[in-house]
Structures are given as structure tokens and as C-alpha cells.
């Protein structure tokens, strides 16, 4: 049964990605990105990664969409004073001939597909990724963590705790950088639109 539900999810994922590439209205593109994130979260759930699925649904579909919408509201094509905004203001211009990018993408894709022929098959229990870090840590994690059943949490918060600390440092740095970039220059009378996004990032 699980195998059957994968097919529509993958088809929808591919269709959503193509729609994002083709659609010109940026609001719609942002919304389709949210849909794409939710669909990929569903697939992750089927692939036995519920933790990643939750995070992808919350962060990828939620926070990213909010940040993108906030940015869109700050970057209409016309200046705000010239009346109400319409959907026209969030359309990108028609792009030039897509032939060269399509060619590049096709060649890269073919090279990557050629690369997959050496990959271990999907679900193969003897693939290097399953064998190499000695899997016995899965058994040991529960006594190590005083009965915590979720191995992902155990690895994330304890075995790779320094990595998670570094990740927090990355978030902190990004937050500071966003604040610095969007800070209003007092000497230079810029537009007053910049402040609202900073709150979202905190």
C-alpha cells in the first residue's frame, strides 16, 4: 500500500516543481513552493524520517513561506505611493530564450543519472550507508540516553551535540547579518520599508 501512495506524491512533486519553474506570478510561485515542501514532507514520512518531515513541514513550508511573502510585500515592482498594489506588481518579466539553460540542465541531469547507475539500490540493507558507521549505536542509544526511544533525537542532541551547537551559532550569525543588512541608514534617507522583516527572523 505504501508503494502505491508514493506514485501520486512523486508525480505531484514533479508537477509542482515544473509549475514553480513556469509560473510568472511570484505570489503563486511562493505558494507552490509551500505545497512542494509539504509534498516532500509527506514523502519523507513514507521514507521513515518523521523527524525530518516535521521539520520540513514547519520550517520549509511555514517559515520559508512567511519570509518569502514578507520579502514580496517589500519588493513590488512599482513604488507604493502610486496606488494600490495589484498582482501585476509581483510578476516577473517574461524571460529570454530558455534554450541554453535547458541544455545545461539536461546535460547535468544526464550526467547525474549516469552517476546513479553505481548507486546501491533503493532500500538495499547492505548499502555502505547502512553498514558503515557501526549500526550497533542504535541499540546502545537507549541505555545511553536513559531510555530515550528516538534514535534521531539521541544522535542530534547528544552524539552530534557539538554539531547542533554549531548550527545554533549559524542561526545566530544569520540573524545578526539580517539585522545589519536591513538596518536603516540614518545618514542616507532610504525608504522606510525595511524594518518589518527583521522581526520575522527572530
Amino acid at each position: 500500500m505504501m508503494d502505491l501512495i508514493v506514485i501520486p506524491i512523486l508525480a505531484l512533486l514533479a508537477a509542482t516543481a515544473v509549475t514553480v519553474a513556469r509560473i510568472r506570478n511570484l505570489w503563486a510561485a511562493v505558494m507552490f513552493t509551500g505545497i512542494y515542501s509539504f509534498l516532500s514532507a509527506s514523502w519523507m514520512l513514507i521514507l521513515d524520517a518523521p523527524d525530518v518531515a516535521f521539520t520540513e513541514a514547519a520550517v520549509g513550508a511555514g517559515i520559508t513561506t512567511i519570509l518569502m511573502l514578507a520579502t514580496l510585500s517589500l519588493t513590488p515592482r512599482r513604488h507604493r505611493k502610486s496606488g494600490r498594489l495589484s498582482s501585476e506588481d509581483f510578476e516577473e518579466r517574461p524571460s529570454k530564450s530558455p534554450l541554453v539553460p535547458l541544455l545545461i540542465v539536461t546535460i547535468t541531469g544526464c550526467a547525474l543519472v549516469y552517476g546513479t547507475f553505481d548507486m546501491p539500490h533503493f532500500g538495499d540493507p547492505n548499502a555502505p550507508i547502512q553498514v558503515y558507521p557501526q549500526p550497533s549505536f542504535v541499540e546502545k542509544s537507549q541505555p545511553d540516553m536513559h531510555g530515550l526511544p528516538n534514535v534521531v533525537t539521541a544522535v542530534l542532541a547528544s552524539y552530534r551535540g557539538y554539531d547542533t551547537l554549531g548550527e545554533t551559532a549559524v542561526i545566530f550569525t544569520a540573524g545578526i547579518a539580517v539585522l545589519l543588512i536591513l538596518r536603516k541608514n540614518t545618514d542616507d534617507q532610504g525608504t522606510s520599508e525595511s524594518q518589518s522583516v527583521t522581526g520575522e527572523n527572530a
Partner: protein
């Protein structure tokens, strides 16, 4: 044919990845470019998660209990559920070696790709936020978010 079924997921991921790549290189709108980067990034998450899946496996949340509280219930659970309690990441082939102790071993998918991708998702939102802040700043400075118009202004100045 077995090749097709075994590698099908990778090809879907590559298709998604290339769609994101196409958006990044073909579109001139800066926000659209960031959307493309996001799609690319999500496809990389999917690639890793796909690699961590083991056939017949389940999510890496241990069912057996080593904590004191539920230790007493263990033998009862083992009887009623057909001794469904050990923790094995390995699939049946290697599970057989341990099966002298436990009759049925549970197969878990690999937790390590999940952990790596959790970190990557959070770092990804940080870079996205930074990129979007830069877009807002560029819009303030140039009045447009179309890449070629920005380059044109740079050339003329």
C-alpha cells in the same frame, strides 16, 4: 528492469534538482532564484533521506525498552506480540547472526541521514533569510529585483 525500480527514486530526485537548477540559471528575478535554490535544497534532503531507507524498515524509534519502569512489562509484551523487541538497524541478512538471542528483530531505517538533514534544514532557513534580506536591500537601492536591470544600472553608473 530491476535497475529501473531500484534507482527510480534517485531519478525523481535528480529531476527535482534539475528543475531547481533551471530556475536558478534561467530566471532573472532574484526572488525566483531564491525559490529555485530552495527547491534544489529540498531535493538534496530527499536524496539523503532516500538513501537512509531500508526495505521493510520502520522509523528509528525504538520499541523495546531498557528503562526500569517498563522493564517488567517487557516479557509480557514479548509473549503477546511474538517477541517483537530487539533493535537492529541491519536487515534480515545480518539480523540472522543475532537471532540466536531474539527470535524476531525489528528493522530500523538509518537515523543518520535524518540527523544530518535536520541540521541542513535549519541552516537552509538561515541562508534563505539572509538572501531575502539582501533582496530587500537591493530593492531599496536599485528599485528593482530583476537581475539584468540591476546589471544595466551598474554598467551605466
Amino acid at each position: 528492469m530491476t535497475d529501473f525500480l531500484g534507482l527510480y527514486n534517485y531519478w525523481i530526485v535528480i529531476f527535482l534538482m534539475m528543475t531547481g537548477f533551471y530556475i536558478v540559471i534561467a530566471r532573472e528575478n532574484l526572488i525566483k532564484t531564491i525559490i529555485g535554490l530552495n527547491i534544489f535544497q529540498t531535493s538534496v534532503f530527499l536524496l539523503y533521506i532516500t538513501m537512509g531507507k531500508v526495505t521493510g524498515g520502520t522509523a528509528p524509534i525504538l520499541k523495546g525498552s531498557h528503562s526500569g519502569e517498563s522493564h517488567g512489562a517487557e516479557s509480557h509484551g514479548a509473549e503477546s506480540h511474538g517477541a517483537e523487541h530487539g533493535q537492529e538497524l541491519h536487515a534480515a541478512a545480518e539480523g540472522h547472526l543475532d537471532s540466536g538471542v531474539e527470535a524476531v528483530t525489528e528493522i530500523y531505517s538509518n537515523p543518520i541521514p535524518s540527523v544530518l538533514m535536520l541540521t541542513a534544514i535549519v541552516v537552509g532557513i538561515a541562508t534563505t533569510a539572509l538572501a531575502l534580506a539582501l533582496v530587500v536591500r537591493i530593492r531599496e537601492e536599485y528599485g528593482t529585483i530583476e537581475e539584468d536591470e540591476i546589471l544595466e544600472m551598474d554598467r551605466n553608473s
